[in-house]
């Protein structure tokens, strides 16, 4: 089983490392033709403005929408969550616009307000160590969206069918349980 990590900008190597710990093969995706060789795709953390721009410039938008239309699982972390969202607060144009959630960027404040904490996530037995870096928040969700965890009553992990998002970085810790959860989603699709 191969899981790709969109490698235009951001924390690619960390996701690949975490994916490989689940037993799947991790692939850095730099070109659209690589999408046909993978069964699941992670959109990593980085700067969402930059990743969004590079996705448009290298024509990733439609190929990823088609990938999603086939029901192949997608996982967005931090910037990746913003890229997947249907609506972005503040009038920013949505990027992929695939997932029925509304997000607010840098919702916790600037870097000095960034933090790490333990989170209970529905479907995962042990608490997940979550690193929030200039993190976005999910401000509202559609009917089909299952909220998997909250932090101080704010939604920070969610799933809609084959799509999973977290506003924090599971790839920066030694805890790969959320990657395991995603790998299981990919395995079920196959």
């Amino acid at each position: 089983m191969k899981i790709g990590v969109l490698a235009l900008q951001g924390a690619v190597a960390e996701h690949i490392r975490s994916i490989e710990r689940t037993g799947a093969e991790g692939v850095a995706v730099k070109h659209t033709h690589q999408l046909k060789d993978i069964q699941g795709l992670i959109i990593p953390g980085g700067e969402s403005t930059t990743i969004g721009k590079l996705m448009r410039r290298y024509e990733f938008m439609d190929p990823i929408r088609e990938f999603s239309a086939e029901g192949k699982p997608l996982f967005g972390t931090c910037a990746g969550l913003i890229v997947l969202a249907k609506e972005i607060d503040g009038g920013e144009e949505p990027h992929l616009g695939l997932m029925d959630i509304r997000v607010s960027r840098n919702a916790f404040g600037r870097q000095r307000e960034s933090f790490e904490t333990d989170l209970d996530v529905k479907g995962i037995d042990n608490p997940v160590r979550a690193v929030f870096i200039r993190a976005p928040l999910i401000t509202s969700v559609g009917d089909g969206v299952d909220v998997l965890s909250t932090y101080k009553d704010e939604m920070v992990t969610a799933r809609e069918g084959h799509m999973l998002v977290s506003s924090y970085h599971p790839e920066l810790t030694e805890d790969f349980s959320l990657h395991q959860y995603f790998a299981d989603m990919v395995r079920q699709y196959n």
Binding site: L8, G10, E47, T50, C78, R112, F115, E116, R134, L172
Partner: protein, 293 residues
């Protein structure tokens, strides 16, 4: 809930990987940089080449400029403090700057002590010429390293030298036996534990960017080939003829540094890059890379 942990600080730098961080002097330039795809901006009163031209003492930027830049972009904003000037650093932290650069581009405030960067919630990036310097800064709490290069010269040769040296030293450490590491820690003037980490992982414990002389898209791609995690561009962009095109070209060349056709394409008609200075023409006092230890 914990803020300012090393994971949060180093993680912030991880999110910059594969990106370009651009020097800007006002809100308008910051918007150009963001639109071009910069992953962060460095808010400055003067770019390094102007600092060279102006002479005198170079200090932290006027807070007005930093705030003005913070207001107009959503990407992270960095700012520079003088080496050892922890009050400038505290002032910038209080403004809400996302990353601090304890930088040799400014006139050092302390010839012996660098800032104790562990005391801060905000993360720091520091310059290094070799592995020893990089690990000393990391020991003091730096969460990101960049080559010093020779800022404001538009000449890539020093950044290349520093990146190659750091990488060859890392390779050497990786191949050492554990007992040799103790003596090497003494030779390099670094903590044994940090050296052991390099020995085990074959890389620095933090992200390492290229800086100091990147003037063209090909320069940026060269540094990525040499193992840089990303690129700082100082004077290069806003001293070039068409900054907007130039900035975009540098971002694309950094993302696709192995795609030479693309680099050729983005390098067309972007105007004249900054003029540049031959390093041997600099006097010892003019060499910024010799500041700090």
């Amino acid at each position: 809930m914990e803020t300012g942990t090393s994971r949060v600080k180093r993680g912030m730098a991880e999110m910059q990987k594969g990106g370009v961080i651009m020097d800007v002097m006002n809100a308008e330039q910051a918007k150009i940089a963001e639109a071009a795809g910069a992953t962060a901006v460095m808010a400055l009163e003067r770019v390094p080449s102007d600092i060279r031209a102006a002479g005198g003492v170079a200090r932290m930027a006027d807070p007005t400029i930093v705030e003005e830049v913070m207001k107009v972009v959503t990407i992270p904003v960095m700012a520079k403090a003088r080496i050892g000037h922890f009050v400038e650093a505290k002032v910038l932290e209080s403004l809400g700057v996302d990353y601090l650069d304890e930088s040799e581009v400014l006139t050092p405030a302390d010839e012996v002590y660098h800032i104790d960067k562990r005391e801060f919630t905000v993360p720091f990036v520091c310059g290094a010429k070799d592995l020893g310097e990089a690990l000393r800064r990391i020991g003091e709490g730096a969460s990101m390293i960049r080559t010093k290069g020779e800022p404001g010269t538009g000449n890539i040769v020093e950044a290349v030298r520093h990146m190659r040296l750091i990488n060859s030293q890392i390779r050497k450490i990786t191949n050492m036996s554990k007992d040799e590491l103790y003596a090497e820690a003494k030779n390099l003037g670094v903590a044994y534990d940090l050296l052991l980490e390099v020995h085990q992982n074959g890389k620095l414990p933090v992200v390492n960017f290229a800086a100091g002389g990147v003037a063209t898209p090909a320069d940026a791609a060269l540094m990525m080939h040499l193992g840089a995690d990303g690129v700082f561009v100082g004077s290069g962009i806003f001293k070039s003829e068409y900054p907007e095109k130039f900035a975009r070209a540098i971002v694309e060349a950094t993302t696709h540094y192995t795609d030479y056709k693309l680099i050729a394409e983005v390098s067309k008609n972007i105007g004249t890059p900054m003029k540049g200075i031959e390093i041997s023409k600099l006097t010892a006092a003019e060499r910024m890379s010799d500041r700090g230890w």
